[in-house]
């Protein structure tokens, strides 16, 4: 049985874009810092999907887009590591990770 794997690329790109915007909305509205971090991850997932689909158009071979995606995963992973460390340290020092309370630096 031969699965018709003809993928409709524009649909996938639109999916990625939708995911990106949802992540963006999450970043803007989530009160807790961890929530924001999650939304950022969501946005990076969208970018990865987009990268993979773009692979189809990369002419010699899609290897480059795969490398791009893998590198992106590594980078986002390290970001999450640093981000969580920061949030935990903030939580420990002033017992809140609510983003809106952290507004001492201004002007």
């Amino acid at each position: 049985m031969h699965l018709n794997l003809a993928v409709n690329y524009t649909a996938v790109i639109l999916l990625a874009a939708a995911l990106f915007v949802i992540g963006l909305y999450g970043v803007l509205t989530r009160k807790s810092a961890i929530g924001i971090l999650l939304s950022l991850e969501l946005m990076s997932m969208a970018i990865m999907i987009n990268l993979i689909t773009m692979g189809h158009f990369v002419n010699p071979s899609p290897l480059n887009s795969w490398f791009f995606t893998i590198f992106l995963m590594v980078i986002v992973a390290s970001e999450v590591g640093i981000g969580l460390a920061l949030i935990i340290a903030i939580y420990r020092s002033n017992h809140t990770s609510e983003v809106d309370d952290l507004d001492r630096l201004k002007g």
């Binding site: 963006l24 970043v27 803007l28 509205t29 924001i36 983003v99 809106d100 507004d103 201004k106 002007g107």
Partner: protein, 667 residues
């Protein structure tokens, strides 16, 4: 090099010698003054005799010129020229100067700053001598102003009290106001004929345009009016009496005030080309003459009376110049120099003896100082114009000139002026010398030798110049006949009427106290010098104080503010842009309560700030802008994120608009 050019150099050397010394040394060396001026007087007389009978004015026997500078390629030269008018004026100035120096030895002998007095007097004499011999208008102007400085220093000699200080400033400023005219005339002459040499100017004068001639004419007349105290600028002379009397004798009687008349006489070939200038001189002259004579009658201070008399005599000379002929005015200038300086010196002795300048307190001095009385009388009667004395002949010549040049109205006014002159002279003569001495214990005594000799010399000249006028005047190339019998009788008659009126006024004590009862308005008018001072006070001096104070506040507040206001405006505009920008982002995504409260307030602040931005200056203006620009930094992460996303959206819209509307596609 002609020896006679040394005449101005001697007093100049005296000045240089004295000016750098300490006060003590200067006071010891005051004798340099009379010696040097005497030397130059001697040289001047020898020069006069040697060059007598001289040629027509303008052809110098000897001249000396040197280049001051090259200006736009043209050589700017200065020159001294000894022509007949120069040697005559040299003689007059140096003789009067010598007499005044001698007299000052007595008058200033116990003043502890006499060294400085003689030093400035020497500079003044040098400047006047240089002016008289100068053949270059620029040199005349330079010496003209140096004399102004000397008169400022001499009037304000006793700087400790208030009156001399104010008088000296007034004198200097009014004469400099006059000099402004000279400045403009010089500028006009330079751009018209490119040289200041008198002969060059006179040769090129006919080619001048009418406008230049008018400007030069009026400019020079305005300068002469300033220096010779003619009506618009006559306010300084009466106050200038605050200075030492001998200095007034030479400055405000003989030389400086005469410099104006002399300069106009020198430049007459140019000025006579513009009839407007001539008639202006005529009428200003005669009105000033009347003004001076009229006020002189009401003066109680002897020096102030003499000052007003000088103003009126100068007015007469000015009017004589107005007729275009310079012989009458020059003749009167020479004679007036002698008898007026004589009167001032004599008045100095009288003041020294009686201790007061107020004539009403004097009286009965005839018995106490017979010699001084005779000398004073010679001067006074010459001024009044009594027959044998020089005053009569010079005034007569001027009267004739009015007639010959067809100015009957001016002639009549001159007659009125002559009567008034006779009136105040005789009145003063009687009040001072006759009647009971009005002082408690009058210790009046005869003048010392140092007072008698100089005044006697001047009196001698007053006598001689009159009778032998054809002689010495001939050297100027003038044909002067004796006054016709008819002319002599008219002027003598007029003089007698005036004298009689003067005696009657004295006899029946119709003086200021009487006036106070009967015509108080007249008394106030004469005291206020017919309100000429008031005109300056309220029209020029007070408004100027007010304007300068206003400008000073303007400068501190508005100019600074305006310059800074611009920046505040600039600050305001940028803030406006940012506020809308950040509101758009926050508003678009979701409103933050606190943010709105602050942002809406901004609208009010914006216009308040813009309106008085001019006032609060760049510091505050920028600070407002800076402070509000900081407002966008609210400190909350969400606000920043929304700002970022908002900016992305805005940029996206703008770029897409640019690409698809402006550039029509991406190609």
């Amino acid at each position: 090099m002609n020896w006679f050019f040394l005449i101005p150099v001697f007093p100049a050397l005296g000045f240089i010698a004295l000016v750098f010394l300490s006060r003590a040394w200067r006071n010891r060396l005051i004798y340099i003054g009379p010696v040097l001026v005497g030397l130059s007087a001697l040289l001047a007389i020898i020069g006069f005799i040697r060059y007598f009978p001289g040629r027509v004015i303008g052809q110098p026997f000897a001249s000396l010129s040197w280049t001051l500078a090259r200006l736009g390629g043209v050589r700017l030269t200065l020159s001294l020229g000894l022509d007949s008018l120069a040697i005559l004026m040299l003689a007059m100035v140096s003789i009067v100067g010598f007499c005044v120096q001698l007299y000052s030895l007595f008058y200033m002998k116990d003043d502890e700053r006499r060294g400085w007095y003689f030093c400035v007097l020497l500079l003044f004499t040098a400047a006047m001598l240089a002016l008289v011999t100068s053949g270059n208008l620029l040199l005349i102007f330079a010496m003209w102003e140096v004399m102004g400085v000397c008169s400022y220093l001499l009037i304000g000699f006793w700087y400790k009290d208030e009156a001399p200080r104010r008088a000296s400033i007034k004198a200097f400023l009014v004469t400099r106001a006059g000099d402004l005219g000279f400045f403009v005339a010089l500028a006009a002459i330079w751009s018209a004929c490119g040289s200041f040499q008198l002969d060059a100017i006179i040769k090129a004068a006919p080619q001048f345009s009418a406008a230049t001639l008018l400007v030069v004419g009026i400019g020079l007349l305005w300068a002469a009016a300033g220096k010779s105290a003619q009506l618009p600028l006559s306010v300084w002379l009466p106050d200038a009496m605050a200075g030492p009397t001998p200095s007034s004798a030479i400055i405000h009687a003989a030389t400086m005030v005469a410099a104006g008349i002399f300069m106009i006489a020198r430049m007459m070939p140019v000025i006579s080309l513009s009839h407007v200038a001539l008639s202006l001189a005529l009428w200003v002259g005669i009105i000033t003459a009347l003004f001076g004579a009229f006020l002189a009658c009401f003066q109680t201070d002897i020096k102030r009376m003499l000052a007003f008399s000088t103003i009126s005599q100068l007015g007469l000379m000015f009017a004589a110049l107005g007729t275009g002929a310079i012989d009458g005015s020059l003749f009167h200038l020479i004679t007036h120099a002698f008898f007026k300086s004589l009167l001032f010196l004599a008045a100095g002795t009288i003041i020294h003896v009686t201790g007061t300048q107020d004539m009403r307190k004097m009286g009965g001095l005839a018995k106490r100082m017979p010699i001084m009385m005779t000398i004073f009388s010679i001067g006074a009667f010459a001024l009044a114009g009594i027959m044998p004395l020089s005053g009569f002949f010079s005034k007569d010549l001027i009267m004739e000139e009015f007639l010959t040049h067809g100015h009957p109205v001016v002639f009549a006014l001159a007659l009125v002026m002559a009567t008034l002159t006779a009136l105040y002279v005789v009145k003063a003569w009687f009040t001072v010398f006759f009647g009971a001495s009005r002082q408690e214990k009058s210790h009046a005594h005869e003048g010392t030798l140092l007072e008698i000799v100089p005044t006697a010399i001047l009196a001698a000249f007053t006598l001689l110049l009159g009778v032998f006028n054809q002689g010495w005047l001939g050297c100027l190339g003038f044909k002067v006949e004796m006054p016709t019998l008819q002319m002599a009788s008219i002027s003598t008659g007029v003089m007698l009427i005036g004298a009689l009126a003067g005696f009657l006024l004295y006899r029946f004590r119709i003086d200021n106290d009487w006036l106070a009862k009967h015509a108080p308005w007249l008394l106030r008018a004469t005291e206020a010098r017919l309100y000429t001072d008031a005109v300056y006070e309220y029209l020029i001096i007070k408004p100027y104080f007010w304007v300068s104070a206003l400008l000073w506040r303007v400068d501190a507040r508005v100019i600074d503010g305006a310059v800074n206001g611009m920046v505040a405006l600039y600050g305001g505009l940028t803030k406006l842009a940012e506020v809308t920008d950040s509101r758009l982002i926050d508003g678009a995504v979701n409103g933050i309560g606190a943010g709105y409260k602050r942002l809406t307030a901004v609208a009010w602040i914006v216009d308040a700030r813009l309106i008085d931005g001019a006032v609060n200056g760049v510091g505050a203006g920028l600070k407002q802008a800076g402070g509000l620009a900081k407002k966008a930094q609210v400190g909350r992460i969400h606000a920043y994120q929304r700002a970022v996303v908002g900016a992305v959206i805005v940029l996206l819209i703008i770029v897409l608009f640019v690409v698809f509307v402006v550039l029509k596609g991406v190609a």
